[in-house]
Subunit: 315 residues, 2 copies
């Protein structure tokens, strides 16, 4: 095992980068802008340049670098082909081969960003010490990652662990279709954005008094705060989010039976307000052997992606 590795986490506005020891210590992190011009044609060379510059600056020779991991916001096939990354303008190409070439032959591994975040948490975050971890990220959407025996469950079409698109709601429980085209996805009840939408719908369609009526606009944080203060309208929105997520985790506990579930993303910031409700529903929705599986908050925050990306090259 060589001494160093790099992790890169590609987002729509910036690429986060991390230099790690292969033992899992984050030595330095920094970021570069994501250049969206020409359908993201410069992104791969920008990442390579940033890493090569860091190696030069720290006088790290290539033969002390185990490799470079990269996660991207879209499906990734086993050979490192991305099929589409809408946020950065990419169509189908083999990003692994292209980045390897740009890095002068350093080993490259590529994964989906939600999957990499799960691997990062399993390696050095709240999942440390476990080999089988299911992570769900509650943000603008609902992302997911499944780690089986220490490895990402990638899926035959690079869409393993699309947990946010588990069909959990009846068609008449949602007003519109999900971005993915289905109708009734977990994401439609449990993402931070949909929690806000649902609270707004209740404000429009009910006469319930609520401190949320005082806002021109608000985010999931305000819904969580109002719920914590006992507001009925906010509580309904949070309960819908947590009940649907608890049932989804129940199905995952029954089928995958991980050692631990981790919840990340903005909504997880509300801590026990969310976790307590999710655990309660989970326990009465899951096959008996798995009722005591812990459900905890992720701990690496926005660094989970660079940790997981770095971890991929250590095998």
């Amino acid at each position: 095992m060589k001494q160093y590795c790099f992790g890169a986490d590609l987002g729509g506005s910036s690429v986060k980068l991390g230099l790690f020891t292969t033992a899992g210590e984050l030595l330095e992190k920094w970021s570069i802008p994501t250049r969206l011009e020409n359908n993201g044609a410069y992104i791969v060379s920008d990442i390579a340049a940033a890493i090569l510059a860091k190696m030069a600056g720290r006088a790290i020779p290539a033969d002390e670098v185990q490799g470079v991991g990269l996660d991207v916001p879209g499906p990734v096939l086993k050979d490192g082909t991305v099929t589409v990354c809408v946020n950065v303008g990419w169509g189908r190409f083999n990003v692994r081969e292209e980045l390897e070439q740009a890095l002068g032959g350093l080993r490259v591994c590529v994964a989906n960003d939600a999957n990499a975040a799960a691997l990062g948490e399993q390696w050095m975050g709240a999942g440390k010490g476990h080999q089988n971890v299911v992570m769900v990220t509650l943000g603008t959407g609902v992302g997911g990652g499944i780690i089986v025996d220490g490895h990402i469950l990638e899926g035959a079409h690079g869409s393993g662990a699309e947990i946010g698109h588990m069909l959990m709601l009846a068609e008449d429980e949602v007003d519109v279709s999900c971005n993915c085209g289905l109708r009734g996805c977990l994401e439609q009840a449990s993402s931070a954005s949909r929690v806000v939408d649902y609270a707004k719908k209740l404000l429009r369609e009910t006469d319930l008094d609520s401190p949320l009526r005082a806002f021109d606009d608000f985010a999931a944080k305000e819904v969580c705060d109002a719920c914590a203060a006992g507001d009925e309208l906010a509580t309904r929105a949070i309960d819908r989010c947590c009940t649907t997520l608890g049932r989804a985790l129940g199905i995952l506990g029954t089928c995958i039976d991980p050692e631990i579930f981790l919840i990340g993303g903005g909504m997880a910031g509300a801590g026990e307000l969310i976790l307590g409700r999710v655990r309660e529903v989970y326990r009465r929705s899951v096959f008996q052997a798995a009722t005591e599986t812990p459900i905890e908050c992720a701990t690496l925050g926005n660094d989970a992606g660079i940790y997981g990306s770095a971890r991929m090259v250590i095998d």
Copy 2:
């Protein structure tokens, strides 16, 4: 790799046994009764005696035997501990260690029977050539097995792939609780037994004419036959089975994204009557990338367990 291996499939009335080449050829199969006396205390030694006798009879020396796989009707932990096997009277003990000792030190692997069946189909049945397979068996209950990268997904509590207990129905869609204690399991709509129960409920509670009214009693086969002949009542029972299964496979396709789904057990005997309906629901319930994943019948029938058990020792 040595030349031979054995697979054993423990059921409530008999133990099926198979002698295989490690290349996957079934050379001979036979069975012995399952002795239930003394809480199944003689089962392990009976299996060992049967295998040692076969080796002696065929003059196969121990150093040409790769090992012996055994599947059992209950949860199995990674170290070979069974926690409970109601059908054969077993409580908690390490069956792997006990069978290894009885076999004079031959390598032993142990798995749950539904998981072993999935591995058998992946090795030499309808899943041959694929590394990622999800199998569902529609019999008295609904069993499941998930193969990820050629290995059984065992789960942290030995209850990975308890697909039959995915909570798929609303509480008011079922009249009673499932044997597992939950209410609304896939099994409650899609097992052969529950298809019959549901048809009988429709006979009692509706005035629908049906050829099933001519029977004193009937099995799932008769419901399938009546459905194939266009009977509305039977069609309702089959549709409920297939719709619920199709939605469950949709969730599994979204989360696990296997290369192929396999349907086994008695109900699979009806072939396209079941498969066609399941595929139709699956395609509109799954994340887009996985809509074309094949759903086919398993092909090894009752031999799937001995194949999968034998496969476990080849790694």
